[in-house]
Amino acid sequence: MKIDLLYVIKQFPIVLSYLNVTLKITILSMIFTILLSLIITIIRYYKVRILTPIINVYIDVFRGTPLLVQLFFIYYGFAQISSFFRNMDAINAAILGLTLNAASYTTESMRSALEAIPKGQTEAGLSVGMTRLQVLYHVVLPQAARVAIPVLSNDFIALLKNSSMAFTLGVREIMGQATLLGNGSFKFFEAYLIVVIIYFCISKLINIGQKKLEKYLYKQGGS
């Protein structure tokens, strides 16, 4: 069997036109993930009563089950017991699932970054009269951010790749579109090659962004 490169070139723009859906899922999930995991991380950092054990259960569950199962459980499972989920769009369910999943990983990355900052930094902050939150905001978080960026950008690349799962909920993004093309033409190799190229390029872009950001933060402060 020979490879139909012309098909790849012709269909590329069609698949690419669904990139906005992939990006929408990825970027929104990313934003929600940052917010959610930041809150979770700070709650765990201070060992807030009641909330911390609940969060630990959540993390255990979401790290201990496959993403695909989580997405199906949210979109098809919960739909049977709650009208809120029944009326939810597939794309929103995907964003919700991806966020909950990714946050259970990124909170660990953030925690290890926070713990990498020497205790003396906090003590020095307290000793000059700052409150714990002020120390966190002015001293610890900016330093932790620098440590966290390489790990977090890995988490975000994983999130981008996982966004392809949205297609299993019937969202037509680049993976969904490529599958449709393949089904229609039986040119699966060509159709999926397009998706491989697109995902790879975006991952690379995130990677470059990470390097730039690291360099910028390095210039912003010392070590």
Partner: protein, 247 residues
């Protein structure tokens, strides 16, 4: 001015401070000496609540707290009376030298930018680091970092300055510059100071009073002359003898 009564602190089953009591007058410079692991640093850390004492009364300036029933607000009030210089400097790594000095002034004391900038350059002049204002701590030597830390503490205008072995993390040839900054400080200002140190000649030189601690107790306290030349307690004699031999 400073009064501590019956201060106790345990780490698990290990009792580090076994009921410490003392008073320090305004402007007095007190050096605390003694073998390692006898609670000297813990004592300082309890005074600004970096360690939480189990019981005892701490009174600095017009604030008096009782460790057994302290409120969060009181902790912050107590801390604002004092400043601490740490063994390993603990400058804020993400801030420049001058930001290290100004951060607490802005955030805690709510001073405005212009005022704060003046204080910073004044303080940096005093510790001899005007030219380093915009450097980050990682670019400085240990001695320079510690001088910035001293500057950071001075800028707060605390009632009490506490030095927790300020030179023990430094190369021998950097010790001098830090000690001379502290020495100058003891002469220029009338800030009350507590200095935990293993530099005996320095303690002798700058302190108005020496406190000798061993195994969680204050064994003896007196003028440098008293302690170094005619110690009353056997333990003090032993410690000082040992020290002379080591040197």
């Amino acid at each position: 001015m400073i009064r501590v009564e019956g201060l106790k602190k345990s780490f698990g089953s290990l009792e580090v401070l076994k009921g410490i009591s003392f008073e320090i007058n305004k402007g007095e410079v007190v050096a605390i000496i003694g073998p390692s692991g006898t609670g000297k640093s813990t004592l300082l850390r309890c005074l600004n609540y970096l360690e939480i004492p189990d019981e005892g009364i701490i009174s600095i300036d017009d604030i008096t707290i009782d460790a057994s029933k302290i409120k969060k607000r009181e902790i912050y009030c107590l801390r604002r009376k004092s400043a601490m210089i740490f063994q390993n400097f603990c400058l804020f790594n993400n801030k420049t030298v001058s930001e290290n000095i100004t951060l607490a002034l802005e955030v805690v004391q709510h001073k405005n930018k212009a005022e704060v900038g003046e204080i910073a350059s004044d303080v940096l002049r005093k510790v001899g680091l005007e030219d380093k204002a915009n450097e980050y701590p990682s670019k400085l030597s240990g001695g320079q970092q510690q001088r910035v830390a001293i500057g950071r503490a001075m800028a707060l205008k605390p009632k009490l300055m506490m030095f927790d072995e300020p030179t023990s993390a430094l190369d021998p040839y950097l010790v001098g510059e830090v000690l001379s900054v502290i020495k100058r400080l003891t002469k220029e200002h009338s800030i009350t100071m507590m200095i935990v140190t293993h530099e005996m000649s320095f303690a002798k030189d700058v302190a108005d009073r020496i406190i000798f601690m061993d195994e969680g107790h204050i064994i003896e306290s007196g003028t440098p002359n008293q302690i170094f030349n005619s110690p009353k307690e056997e333990k003090t004699k032993q410690f000082l003898n040992h020290y002379v031999e080591e040197k």
